[in-house]
Symmetry: C5
Subunit: 89 residues, 5 copies
């Protein structure tokens, strides 16, 4: 999984039926030292993250597991909110 | 998912039977600030996007979900059209 | 999917039984403007592409769909031949 | 699989139910010559790795295999601890 | 699939039960012109490759196909040995 920060959202009327009622959040991937790294992506959200929150997200088919048995066509999903990062000195 | 813009299409007569009747669109990946980022790709399309439209697309096996129960051999599919991007400050 | 050109092939006697009777083609990924981009890869082929042909290929599990119900251990497969690319000015 | 070192952990209260009771470790990917390479990631752990340990980890859906039949929404999992790397001169 | 050379192996006592009795080889990815490209990885092996051999390997879930019905948690597997590469001039 990857660390990131919620920085916005996508407004979308025309979308695949499998994405109906899914919120689409824009996430900036971050390093554990809070440096931006790589491109901003659009994530579905299984846990109710809000703007500005530090989260971790999955990539690939696992990203649809939280929505089973519905087969949501997403490949990037926020699966947790980070309270704290403990990195050894 | 990733943000992109439809910039063209692929004309293809000889293709895997699983791709029959699929439109193949060329997409330029973009950042939320509308800067091109990474290579242009060929996407199938589950929602009827047109040239010049701003879209979001998935990568990987999830890209074939919109076509189930048909197992379409695609790994990049447009799943929604973007009305607006709301990025915080 | 990704655009590429068939530039050669791999001769291999010892291989996984799942790859028996599969041709293994070397593909150079290209941009729509025909510039080489990224590393050359080894693809299986579901449509009979030949040396020098412009093709599109998939990455990941979808690459094994054309061979179902056989579970071919491939992650890169040519799924179509490109007749023409129409990119908007 | 990829080589890495456990350098910390993520403390997270709000997370997908599928991740309940999973430890979340921060891993720095390394080359076999022990040079850091690429971004630090958040891994689940199927074998009980500790801080400072040299490990190998998988990426993608295979990362959820150790937890079957539970469908854990993770795409990066530590699957072994490295005793020694033997690289030919 | 990708071209590579076996350059070493990983010695590991503590590992996921799904990896029991699997050899873990270190592979340097190569271009068809035999230039190193990208990070060295740890592969399982379905065909008995040895040190110094030129091989091709898969990435992703397909990497576990050779071991079915056992669900081996690997995402990189050597699936063939290369006798010769024929690249068009």
């Amino acid at each position: 999984m990857y660390i990131g920060k919620v920085i916005g959202r996508v407004v979308s009327t025309v979308k695949d039926p499998g994405l109906a009622s899914q919120r689409l959040l824009i996430v900036q991937p971050l390093t554990p030292a809070m440096q931006p790294t790589g491109k901003q992506i659009v994530c579905t959200d299984s846990i109710g993250a809000g703007a500005g929150e530090l989260v971790y997200w999955t990539r690939g088919k696992e990203s649809s597991f939280p929505f089973l048995p519905v087969e949501v066509p997403t490949d990037t999903t926020i699966v947790g909110i980070i309270d704290q990062l403990r990195v050894a000195g």
